[in-house]
């Protein structure tokens, strides 16, 4: 808009007269003062002229294309010099009654605005006198305004507008018609065969055939030199969209061996020509100090944080986990619209909103970054916390992939958009452990992309026909994928090294129904759960194929399972795994150990378990077997070092189990999302001792804040483990201290409560005593204040009761 004003051509005025567009006041470009006459009266007059002209122009709507309207005449009459004047501030007449759009004013105060409003209203009433909106009416008046000294409707010269047009109606301005000279529809094709006039017709036919696929060609031009074409041609399409289409699809078209077309937009030439050869130093962004984003790791007590969503999602809180009571850090209403996510290292908290994702962090949970993605539903962080993947089902368009967007978390920039074709499972993109690569699977292809370019690795996808599932190793850039049987070719599981694409192990399998890939958290082992229907047997047999990744040639061992498998889980930092198998109600849990020599040993089996899920402690060794939901929330806490059940407990109707990142505590919860009553989360020690019951109204979700991997070396960890006794003494002392302090506090609190209550009771008692006479009066002089105060009035009667006792054995009642 401002550009239009600065360019004093009639089109500029025309553009302002858009259909239905209110003309907001333009912020005067800073240099405009220079263009103005210096006298106090002169700018006034100029302003009047300009504004009246604007009125005329505005009234001239609704179609800017109509070129017979008086706007042009006015323009001609008042001359381009006037339209240079920056006072272009008027509204279409229909909206005069509305509060005036702030324009230039003497003083930016309210009064000045009111004055303006008055003067405008005056102008409006004048306008209303005639046929409103009629261009013919406006014309003479506009001219008249130009000559005569009407009161000035425009803002005084030194009024500085504080609202830009963009701000006021950016959405409308975006759609304003753009001037087009057709140059956008022109493409340039290079590497066209050079031909003489004799074959030109033929060439034209060929070219036409190729390029009319993308739209109607309205014009073509074959420059010639010395009787031959120059080897490049110009084609004009009916619309710029066709041109873009042609560039996209015909670029790189191989006509024959010698000729590969290079197709470009004509406007691109212009664009690239004007780019200066000099490198401009990018403007330095001011450093935003976000504070220590990892402050929570420095907490003296080494407590962990967790987020809690409750009141059916209306409130979100962050707590310090404490053995006694959770300590609230932050609580906000409507912090998120659906749920929250922590980033994998715990630096950020992501909240979901209709318009996108917000990341929060630092001590005060300030907003750190925003990613605008309308209707976002799912997100995924890269393991390195550099990138964020968001998914929205709303935004996708054919030529602008926006269903899935990958963002740079630090800059907030969009790195790349993707379409979402198949109804794949989230996360659609799986990240390698270091965040260097990410991959997605589509029909018969596995596409691996690399960061930070976000381009395909080696510029091409892997063709793997029939690929069913894949998974990155959490311990190295190895991808595992499996392909089902295809007629005579057996099903196979492949391990591929990246970026070399070298297959390090292929295992063929027969009669496979389904495979599931389970990586151990360090990437030391891969377990492929293979469901098979061997010939000659009925039903499905399950095998665990255990790949030992750290050994040469990746040896594979097989564990055969006779029963149906309910759940499988690796010990995160070890070589054990737990399996739940059997049919309800006869469910057993088995613990296996993968020995160094490759032997897989059954350590222990417990039968008659009430469990359907396995939750390993993040530090390994301890495991919680939970019978969630339908199994009423039965919990078994097992120590797998000697395979003892430390405790059996129950959190009725529990729906979730969450280990804290250090493996010290476990939270079981009943989420409002799955069960409507008794929504609460309970805190247990890893041994299964219940510490807290936290009832929260319509509690939804608890998430522990993850911790980044430790910075200690293996030796240091070993040393700490060795010195554990020394530490434990200190900790125990601390615990005792805090316990006695807490009980002291509690006692103190109770004491004050009691004192307050006593005070209140004393007052009440006094009142009560004062009313004694009234009471006596009301009850005919009988003192009933104490139970036996009227004992003299009693006629004592001894009643003999016959009592038998029926003793009912325990347990009959309930």
């Amino acid at each position: 808009m401002q550009d239009a004003e600065n360019v004093a051509v009639p089109e500029a005025a025309e553009e302002r007269a858009e259909p239905g567009q209110q003309q907001p006041a333009a912020e005067p470009p800073p240099d405009e003062g220079l263009l103005r006459p210096a006298g106090p009266g002169a700018p006034e007059a100029a302003g009047t002229e300009a504004s009246s002209e604007e009125v005329a122009v505005a009234e001239a709507g609704p179609e800017p294309e109509v070129r017979t309207e008086p706007a042009a005449e006015v323009e001609a009459a008042s001359g381009p010099s006037e339209s240079l004047s920056p006072t272009a501030a008027e509204e279409p007449p229909g909206s005069h009654a509305e509060p005036p759009v702030p324009a230039q004013g003497e003083a930016p105060g309210e009064q000045a605005r009111d004055e303006r409003a008055d003067s405008r209203a005056q102008a409006a009433s004048e306008n209303a006198g005639g046929n409103e909106g009629s261009a013919a009416e406006a014309e003479p008046r506009a001219l008249e305004n130009g000559d005569a000294d009407e009161p000035s409707f425009s803002d005084p010269e030194d009024f500085v507008d504080d609202v830009s047009e963009e701000e006021l109606l950016g959405d409308v301005l975006k759609d304003r018609p753009q001037e087009a000279d057709g140059i956008d529809s022109v493409i340039v094709v290079d590497n066209v065969p050079q031909v003489g006039p004799d074959r030109l017709e033929k060439l034209k036919n060929v070219i036409h055939k190729i390029f009319s696929k993308f739209g109607k060609i309205t014009n073509d031009f074959y420059p010639e030199e010395d009787g031959k074409t120059k080897g490049y041609i110009f084609l004009e399409y009916a619309s710029p969209a066709h041109a873009v289409d042609a560039v996209k699809n015909a670029d790189g078209y191989k006509l024959d061996k010698q000729h590969t077309f290079r197709v470009n937009l004509f406007t691109d030439f212009d664009k690239y020509m004007t780019i200066s050869d000099e490198w401009d130093i990018p403007e330095k962004q001011p450093f935003k100090d976000l504070g220590n984003l990892r402050y929570w790791l420095e907490e003296a007590e080494c407590r962990d944080q967790y987020s809690v969503i409750f009141e059916s999602g209306d409130r979100t809180s962050i707590f310090w986990n404490d053995v006694k009571d959770p300590v609230s850090i932050e609580e906000r209403a409507r912090w998120t619209e659906t749920y929250v996510r922590w980033s994998p290292k715990g630096t950020y908290l992501a909240t979901f909103h209709q318009r996108g994702i917000a990341l929060w962090g630092g001590e005060k949970f300030k907003q750190i970054q925003r990613f605008s993605h309308q209707g976002v539903q799912l997100i995924d962080f890269s393991p390195c916390e550099r990138y964020l993947v968001t998914f929205s089902p709303l935004m996708d368009t054919q030529d602008d992939p926006q269903a899935i967007i990958i963002w740079d978390i630090l800059t907030g920039h969009k790195k790349r958009g993707f379409h979402c074709e198949s109804s794949a499972h989230w996360p659609i993109f799986k990240w390698s452990h270091d965040g260097k690569f990410f991959a997605r699977m589509t029909l018969d292809t596995l596409s691996i992309y690399e960061t930070p370019s976000m381009g395909l690795l080696d510029k091409k996808s892997l063709k793997i026909s029939g690929i069913k599932d894949f998974s990155w190793s959490p311990g190295g850039n190895i991808i595992a994928f499996w392909v089902p049987e295809d007629k005579d070719i057996p099903a196979r599981v492949t391990l591929m090294q990246l970026p070399t694409r070298q297959e390090i192990r292929v295992r063929n399998l027969f009669n496979v129904v389904d495979c599931k890939l389970h990586w151990q958290k360090n990437g030391d082992y891969l377990c492929v759960k293979v469901d098979r229907t061997p010939k000659g047997t009925q039903g499905v047999v399950t095998n665990f194929e255990i790949f030992r990744m750290r050994e040469k040639q990746v040896p594979v061992d097989v564990v055969e399972m006779k029963e149906t498998i309910i759940a499988f889980a690796w010990e995160p930092n070890g070589s054990k795994f737990a399996v739940l198998h059997g049919e309800a109600p006869r469910i057993s849990v088995s613990f296996y150990h993968v020995k160094n020599n490759g032997k897989i040993e059954l350590i222990k089996m417990f039968d008659k378990q009430q469990a359907n899920t396995i939750f390993w402690s993040p530090q390994g060794q301890f495991v919680v077997l939970a019978g969630l939901r339908s199994m009423n929330g039965a919990l078994a806490f097992v120590d797998t070092s000697d395979c003892t059940v430390m405790n059996i407990a129950e959190h009725y109707m529990a729906s979730d189990v969450e280990w804290d990142p250090t493996g010290r505590y476990v939270v079981t919860s009943v989420s409002w999302w799955s069960h409507k009553v008794d929504n609460a989360y309970w805190l247990w020690t890893f041994q299964g001792r219940l510490l807290q019951k936290n009832n929260k109204d319509r509690f939804c979700q608890l998430l522990w804040r993850p911790r980044p991997p430790t910075l200690l070396s293996q030796e240091q960890i070993k040393q700490i483990k060795k010195d554990l006794k020394k530490y434990s003494k200190i900790f125990e002392q601390k615990d005792r201290l805090s316990q006695s302090k807490a009980s002291k506090e509690l006692v103190e609190r109770r004491r004050t409560m009691m004192e307050d209550f006593r005070k209140y009771r004393k007052m009440a008692q006094e009142l009560y005593m004062e009313q004694k006479n009234e009471r006596l009066e009301l009850r005919g002089g009988v003192d009933t204040d104490e139970l036996d105060s009227n004992v003299d009035d009693w006629e004592e009667e001894t009643i003999e009761f016959f009592v038998t006792e029926e003793i009912i054995p325990l347990g009959n009642q309930e």
């Binding site: 109707m653 009553v677 019951k693 409560m753 005919g780 009761f801 038998t804 009912i808 009642q813």
Partner: protein
Amino acid sequence: MNSRRGSGDGGAGSATYPETPPWQLRCLLLPGTRGRRPIIRKWAQSVFRSCSRCGLPRVTAGMKPILLQGHERSITQIKYNREGDLLFTVAKDPIVNVWYSVNGERLGTYMGHTGAVWCVDADWDTKHVLTGSADNSCRLWDCETGKQLALLKTNSAVRTCGFDFGGNIIMFSTDKQMGYQCFVSFFDLRDPSQIDNNEPYMKIPCNDSKITSAVWGPLGECIIAGHESGELNQYSAKSGEVLVNVKEHSRQINDIQLSRDMTMFVTASKDNTAKLFDSTTLEHQKTFRTERPVNSAALSPNYDHVVLGGGQEAMDVTTTSTRIGKFEARFFHLAFEEEFGRVKGHFGPINSVAFHPDGKSYSSGGEDGYVRIHYFDPQYFEFEFEA
């Protein structure tokens, strides 16, 4: 119902009893007892659960509850008389029972109602008994003889009723029902014409939200009414105007009970809390929180204790397991608002609780139709909070 009834139909003084209900058949009849003797069961099990750090009860005891089985439907209200020797119980059946509280023997019944009885009250010297029923009547009985002294017809069900401090004025409130609005009616018993003509000396209309519980304030100058909306109003018993209005509860107030000295009262609300108020100012003092709707709350006469009864609402019980219904009576300390004990035993929500005036026992009546008299054992009296 009628077919079961024995000889007496007015409920004569020498108590008449219904025919032996099937559940009592297995109890032995001892010679010399007049009619059916109540069953007293001994519980070998400790019902007062022990407490741990996570807020479970801190007192262990083996109380032996007396089970009163005199109703066929859910209990609506139970009340001790002033001395505490009698316990009145009403239920959603038309029977009004009175029991000896010391051993649970039934003294008699007041027969006459034809619908569910919502409320019962006895005056201070236990001469009269007042009952209000869904048969659109409020009845006054002679306590000793069981004779019906007055029948006050109303347009809709009587929800609450009560004698004033002197026992001369009765008050009852009616439901907003069948096109009739909620009223509180006042009758002066000293003026027989009021009863004969069924003309209360005052009738307070209550347009906004119906009264769900009401008691007389101290000295009978006002009544304190709890509304469906959770509001509390203090109405003057002389002019009928609203003296104080507070809203501390967010949902229906199910029960109001005064302390022994009448200086404060406790409300039980559907919003899962019970609250303590001052009776004159209606100032909120304390809040006792649970996870279930509270149907009734009672103050101990000699300790700073309050007992709460409630549980999952009756209509939801069939869809939920009894385990999560939480049908326990829960004991809170009045000043600390902390729970220190629980007593389980009912199979459904507890609809009414009452403390014996001597504070040595309490009773609860449940949706399961049973009334249980619990005597506290020594641990209860010895227990003290660390403060």
